[in-house]
Symmetry: C2
Subunit: 215 residues, 2 copies
DNA sequence: GTCTATAAATGGATAGAC
DNA sequence: GTCTATCCATTTATAGAC
């Protein structure tokens, strides 16, 4: 009965003049643009144009570029991209997914790229910190056994982020040309150092004997 | 005999009007500024002011902002910061140095920060790629035994870069508040997955048996 | 609900004086 | 060897029309 669905006669049907749809279109364009170029690397004009609107509407619906970025981070980190659900196959599935998604010819639209490319801006870094801790960090830590789950989860994230960085953003030769199965094995073994504590029940403070390297 | 060393009378002695000294001062200011704010986050004016000159001289001596950045990357990656020299203590010394240098109250001037904060700009990323491959990557790979040294070296660099990212640039809680000795042990164990192949002489194609995770 | 037009600031790079 | 002054492009954000 209202004018939300059907465009009024006389209005060109470029897109419905609907606030919710417009907002969603802007957010979708923002995810793509911020992921590809980072917070400082893209202007509000660019995002607005990709969404088919003008820059003014971005500020109208999101308050500012920073407000848009905050909602973009939330939307980008909500779906699971690399870290899986099943605790038993956590390291293997994560390693395999990571290698597949960071392949040189893959699509390369991932919240880790949004993080890596937006982090030089201190305000964007703080927004990203809150987002990754709340979404991915908590998700992964909850699936770990043993002690220090928070720290170990973030060490795993450090390796994942570093792999994204070196393999796709920087694009170093050896990692780009690496055999996928070999790379997956090595990443899984590195992840298992902090993930695979299946004999240590949660809450246990017992840690493996430390082999002092300086002896 | 020439006017290179002694300032001419009447010229205020703010600094010798010497091309080499001025160029060095600009380069030093560029290392600091680019490391703290990244390639896109700092202007030529800012760097020039920190060096006590005007922006014009930067373009005069380095051609462009991009030319200045290339020489900055070379100067920043030349000294060893985290990866040590002795192959036998590679993982332990690297882990200990990394934890110390990424401590929340540390100084935080490191080529890895220069990389992390400059990488959103594609041209800067390419310059950084060449620099880190030539300096740190080759240095580390040359100290590894066994096969796939290039790939394993870059996986170690991925973990190092990711640790810098999460612990200092992003600043996640669990890694900031982690016990240094515990963090060092875990990082060393992760590094040893790709570094410690002492029973496999260089050139050996024998690899450890793969435990299939999907079974 | 969305537009055009513009304000106010900042970016890299250059011309020409001294 | 170094400066002042300026060009031109681009940015975020806002004012006001329709």
């Amino acid at each position: 009965m209202n004018s939300r669905t059907a465009p009024r006669p006389g209005v060109p049907a470029k897109r419905a003049r609907n606030a919710a749809d417009t907002k969603a279109a802007i957010l979708q364009a923002a995810v793509t643009a911020f992921t590809q170029h980072g917070y400082d690397g893209v202007g509000v004009r660019e995002i607005a144009q990709a969404a088919g609107v003008t820059a003014m509407l971005v500020n109208r619906y999101f308050g500012s570029k920073e407000g848009l970025f905050a909602q973009t981070v939330d939307a980008a980190f909500a779906p699971r991209t690399v870290v899986g659900e099943d605790p038993r196959t956590l390291s293997s599935a994560t390693a395999a997914t990571l290698v597949a998604r960071t392949a040189p010819d893959a699509e390369h639209l991932d919240p880790f790229l949004l993080m890596l490319r937006s982090v030089p801006n201190p305000r964007a870094a703080e927004i990203v910190r809150a987002g990754i801790e709340r979404h991915v960090g908590a998700h992964l830590a909850a699936r770990l056994n043993g002690a220090d789950t928070g720290e170990r989860a973030e060490l795993a994230l450090a390796l994942i982020a570093g792999t994204w960085l070196m393999r796709t953003v920087i694009g170093t030769d050896a990692l780009r040309e690496a055999t996928p199965t070999l790379l997956t094995d090595q990443l899984q073994a590195m992840l298992d150092v902090v993930i695979d504590h299946r004999d240590e029940p949660t809450g246990s403070r017992v840690r493996r004997a430390r082999t002092d390297p300086r002896a």
